[in-house]
Amino acid sequence: MKRYLWRRLGLGGLTIVATTLLVHLALYLAPGDPIGYLLNGQPATPERVAALRAQYHLDDPFFTRYVSWVTGVLNGDFGFSASFNADVSALIASRLPTTIYLVVISFLFISLFGLTMGILAGLKKGGIDSFSMATATVLSSIPAFVGSFILINVFALNLGWFPAIGAGDGSLSSAISHMTLPAIALAFSAGAFVARTTRASIRVESSSEHVTTATVRGIPRRKVVSRHIVRNALLPIISLGGLLFVGLIVSTAFVEQAFAINGIGGLLVVAARQQDFALVQAITLIMVISFVIVNLAVDVLYWILDPRIRSEVA
C-alpha cells in the first residue's frame, strides 16, 4: 500500500511541475501585451511603460520568470497580480472558500441526484427508467448559464426563496443559502451525466455472470443489489466523480458570473484574458494540486473497494 501511494504521489508531483511549466509557456507565447491592461488604457509616457515592464518582469526571459516564480511559491509568495493590483495570496484567500462551498455543495447535488436516478433507472425498467432518463436528457442539455438565469428568475426574483446574487457574509448558513442556486445550476449537466453512466454501469453489472450466480444461489435480492451490483457498478463512477469534481472548479466561471459570485473560476478567466502570469499560475497550481489529491483519494477508494487492485500491487 505504501509503495503504491508513494508512486502515486511522485506522479502527482511530476504532473504539477509539467502543468505549471506548460501554462507558463502558453502565457509567455500568447499574443497581446499585458502592458495595455497595466496602463488601464490611459495614455502613458515611454518612461512609465518601461517602469511598469520592469516592475512586472515583462521583459525577463522565459526560464528566469519561471524559476523566480517557483522560488517565490516555495517561500509562500505567489507574487503580485497585475490586473488586480493586489497580492495573489490575498486574492485567492478571499475567493477560495466561496469556490470550495460552491463545488462541494454542487458535488453533493450531483452525487445525490445522479446516483439516485441512475441506480433507480438501472434497477427498475419501465416508467421510472424512462422518466429518469428523459429528465437527465433535458437537464444535460441546459448549459450552466441558461440554468442560472432560469433559477434566478424563478427561485430568487419570483419566489424569493434564495438570494439572487452574491456569496453571503461568510457564515455557513449564509453560504449555504447563497450557494444553493448556483450549485444546482452547476449540477444540472454533470448530475445528468452521472445518472446516465450509473444506469449503464448498473445494467452491465446486473447482467453479469456473478450476479446471475448469486441470484441462482438464492441470495436475497437486496443483498445481491447492494453487494454484487451497486458496489461493483460504483467503481467506474468513482473515477468519473473524481474527474467531475476537479472539472467543477474550472466550470464555476459561468455560474459565478451569472450569480455575481467572486470565486476562483471567474478569477481565472479575468487573469488569463489579461495575461496576469502570477494569478493564472497560482490558480493553475491550486487546480493541479486538487486534481492530484482527488485522484489519490480515488486510488485509495479503489484499493478499498476492489480486491483485484490490492492483489495486482502486492
Partner: protein, 544 residues
C-alpha cells in the same frame, strides 16, 4: 486628468479630463424624448444603516485619490478624501477644504486652508498635508494628474493657513484642477513611505471626508462608514451610516441584484440593462445630467481621408443623430452641437448657453454629404473605423457609422482591435492604420476650456487625432491666461466655434449618466463632474 476608464460593457471607452470655475446652480433639464435629467436627487430624509452600491466598472485598482485610476475608484475615494474645492451638482466650484483659492496673478495661486479640520484619525489637516498631496499628484509616476499640473512649478506651505502654488506659465485651469483628485488631501503621515497606501485590501488610508474606509476584502467588497469627526457634518448629512460596495461587472447579474433588492443602486448602468430595470418595481432608473458626450475622433495627421476637412464634414452630415440618441443613450440624450455639453458649464452659464444656441443643429443631409465627397477629389475615399473587440457596443457603433459612411460614398471598413492598443490609440502617436475611432468622453471639471484645450493644443492631452490650427492654439493660450471667468468664457466660446467648424472631433450626442436606485432611497448626485470628485452620497438617505 487625462485618463481613461475601460468600462466593462457599459459606456465603452470613457476618458476623463479636468478643469473649472465658480458656482452656477441650474435646475434639471429635459431630454428631447421627454426624459427628465437630474443634477441632484432630492436629499434623503431619514437614516439608513447600510446601502449596497454596485461599482459596474469593477474593483478599483487603488483608492489613492491623487493617482486616480478609474470610475470605481473615484466613487469610493471621493467619499473619504476631500479636495480643496468642492464640485456642486451642476459643475460649479465651491469652497471645500480650502475656504478660498484665487489667482493673485496669472502665475500664482493662493490656497487658504479651512481652519480646525481634522483627519479621521483625529490629527489636524495642515498645509503640509495639502502640499504633500498636490506634490504626489504632480510627481508620482503613476499619477493621472501630472498633465493637469504640468504648468505647476512649485507647491509650498507658506504658513499654517496658506499654500502657495507657483506656475511656470499662466494656466487658468489649475484652479479647477484643485477640485479633482489632484488636490484631494490625504494625511501625509498615513501615506508617506507606505507602499500599500490605497492598494486593494489595505485600510491604512487616512483622509478627512464624510466616510472612512472600514474594510476592503480584495476581490469581494469595500465597506465605508460615516466619519464621526467630519468637519462639515450636520442635519441631513451622512444619513447613511455605512456603504458596502460590490464589483459586479456582468450587466445581467447586476440587474438580478437590483431587482432582488440585494443591491440598492449603482452608477454606469449598461445601456442594454436600462429597459429591464425601467420595468422594476423596487427601484427607478434615473439619468444624471452630467458633462459626458459621445464623439468620433478623426485621425488627421496622416495623408489619409480624415485629414481632408470636407470629408470630415461629409461624415458628420451622414450621421442619423435622432437615431443615435435612441441607440446610444436610451433616448435620454440630445444631439451634441459641440463637445462642451450643457452639463460642463460650471460658470458664466449665460455666455455658454448663448453660444450653444447660436451653433447650428447637427443635421443629416445625405445629398450634401455626397456632394462634399465628390468635391474632395478622392473617389470612394477609404475610411477605417476602429472598434474594440472586447466591447460589443463599440462594434455596434462602428457598424452604424460604416453604414452611414458607405451611403454617402465612402469605402468604410471596421478594424477590431483589443485593449492592448488603448495606450497607442489614446495618445498623440500617429495611427497609420486607423481613420476614425469612437469615444465617450467628458469634461471632468465644469469648464469648457478644459476639453477644448485638450483637443485644440498640439500636445493637448486628448489630441489623439493630431488636430492642429494655429489660430485655435493662440486663443487657447489667451484663455489659459485669463483668470477672470467672464473673459475666459468669452474666449472659450470663440474656440468652440472654430473647433466645431473644423470638425476636430465629430460630436454625436450628450450621454446622460444612467443610474439605478431603490425606491426607498434618495439623495445621490448622479452625474459628472460632481459625482466623480465630490462626495456623491452626502445626502443619501431614505426617500420618505
Amino acid at each position: 486628468m487625462k485618463r481613461l476608464l475601460l468600462a466593462t460593457g457599459s459606456v465603452g471607452m470613457l476618458l476623463l479630463t479636468a478643469c473649472g470655475g465658480a458656482a452656477a446652480p441650474d435646475s434639471s433639464q429635459t431630454s428631447a424624448s421627454g426624459i427628465e435629467l437630474v443634477s441632484a436627487m432630492p436629499a434623503g430624509v431619514g437614516p439608513v444603516e447600510n446601502v449596497n452600491w454596485n461599482l459596474a466598472d469593477g474593483e478599483p485598482l487603488s483608492l489613492d485619490p491623487n493617482l486616480s485610476w478609474s470610475g470605481s475608484q473615484n466613487f469610493v475615494s471621493n467619499l473619504m478624501c476631500e479636495s480643496l474645492l468642492f464640485t456642486n451638482p451642476t459643475g460649479g466650484l465651491e469652497p471645500g477644504l480650502a475656504t478660498d483659492v484665487s489667482y493673485t496673478d496669472p502665475k500664482t495661486l493662493i490656497v487658504k486652508l479651512r481652519e480646525g479640520v481634522t483627519f479621521s484619525d483625529g490629527s489636524a489637516v495642515t498645509t503640509e498635508d495639502v502640499a504633500y498631496s498636490i506634490e504626489k499628484a504632480r510627481t508620482n509616476e503613476l499619477s493621472q494628474f501630472a498633465g493637469d499640473l504640468a504648468s505647476v512649478a512649485s507647491v509650498k506651505a507658506t504658513d499654517a493657513s496658506t499654500v502657495t502654488i507657483k506656475l511656470s506659465e499662466p494656466n487658468s485651469l489649475v484652479r479647477s484642477a484643485l477640485s479633482t483628485g489632484a488636490a484631494a488631501v490625504v494625511s501625509k503621515a498615513s501615506a508617506e513611505g507606505n507602499a500599500d497606501f490605497g492598494l486593494p485590501g489595505n485600510t491604512s488610508m487616512v483622509c478627512s471626508g464624510p466616510y472612512i474606509l472600514k474594510e476592503w476584502i480584495a476581490g469581494t467588497k469595500i465597506v465605508v462608514e460615516a466619519n464621526p469627526k467630519w468637519w462639515n457634518k450636520g442635519e441631513g448629512k451622512q444619513l447613511t451610516k455605512q456603504i458596502t460596495f460590490s464589483f459586479i461587472t456582468d450587466p445581467a447579474a447586476a440587474v438580478a441584484g437590483y431587482e432582488s433588492g440585494e443591491l440598492d443602486g449603482g452608477f454606469l448602468i449598461a445601456p442594454s440593462s436600462i429597459k429591464a430595470l425601467q420595468a422594476s418595481t423596487v427601484g427607478t432608473v434615473g439619468f444624471g445630467q452630467g458633462s459626458s458626450f459621445g464623439a468620433w475622433v478623426p485621425v488627421m495627421n496622416t495623408e489619409r481621408s480624415m485629414s481632408n476637412p470636407k470629408l470630415r464634414e461629409a461624415l458628420a452630415l451622414s450621421l442619423d443623430y435622432a437615431n443615435l440618441v435612441k441607440t446610444d443613450t436610451a433616448g435620454s440624450g440630445i444631439p451634441a452641437k459641440a463637445l462642451a455639453v450643457p452639463g460642463s458649464w460650471g460658470y458664466e452659464v449665460g455666455t455658454y448657453q448663448e453660444a450653444w444656441d447660436a451653433l447650428p443643429d447637427p443635421v443629416t443631409d445625405l445629398e450634401a454629404a455626397k456632394k462634399l465627397v465628390a468635391e474632395s477629389g478622392v473617389s470612394n475615399p477609404e475610411l477605417v473605423i476602429q472598434a474594440w473587440s472586447e466591447l460589443p457596443d463599440s462594434v455596434n457603433q462602428a457598424l452604424v457609422l460604416q453604414q452611414a459612411a458607405n451611403s454617402v460614398g465612402f469605402n468604410a471598413t471596421i478594424l477590431k482591435v483589443g485593449f492592448e492598443r488603448a495606450a497607442d490609440i489614446y495618445s498623440g502617436a500617429k495611427k497609420t492604420d486607423i481613420d476614425i475611432f469612437g469615444t465617450n468622453y467628458l469634461s471632468v471639471v465644469g469648464d469648457p476650456l478644459s476639453i477644448y484645450s485638450q483637443i485644440g493644443l498640439k500636445n493637448g492631452a486628448a489630441n489623439w487625432g493630431g488636430y492642429s490650427n494655429a489660430k485655435v492654439s493662440k486663443l487657447i493660450k489667451d484663455a489659459l491666461a485669463a483668470t477672470s471667468d467672464e473673459e475666459r468664457a468669452k474666449i472659450t466660446v470663440e474656440i468652440q466655434s472654430l473647433l466645431t467648424a473644423d470638425y476636430a472631433w465629430l460630436p454625436t450626442t450628450t450621454t446622460p449618466s444612467p443610474f439605478f436606485i431603490s425606491n426607498k432611497l434618495s439623495g445621490v448626485v448622479p452625474g459628472p463632474p460632481a459625482h466623480i470628485w465630490s462626495a456623491w452620497a452626502i445626502n443619501l438617505g431614505t426617500a420618505k
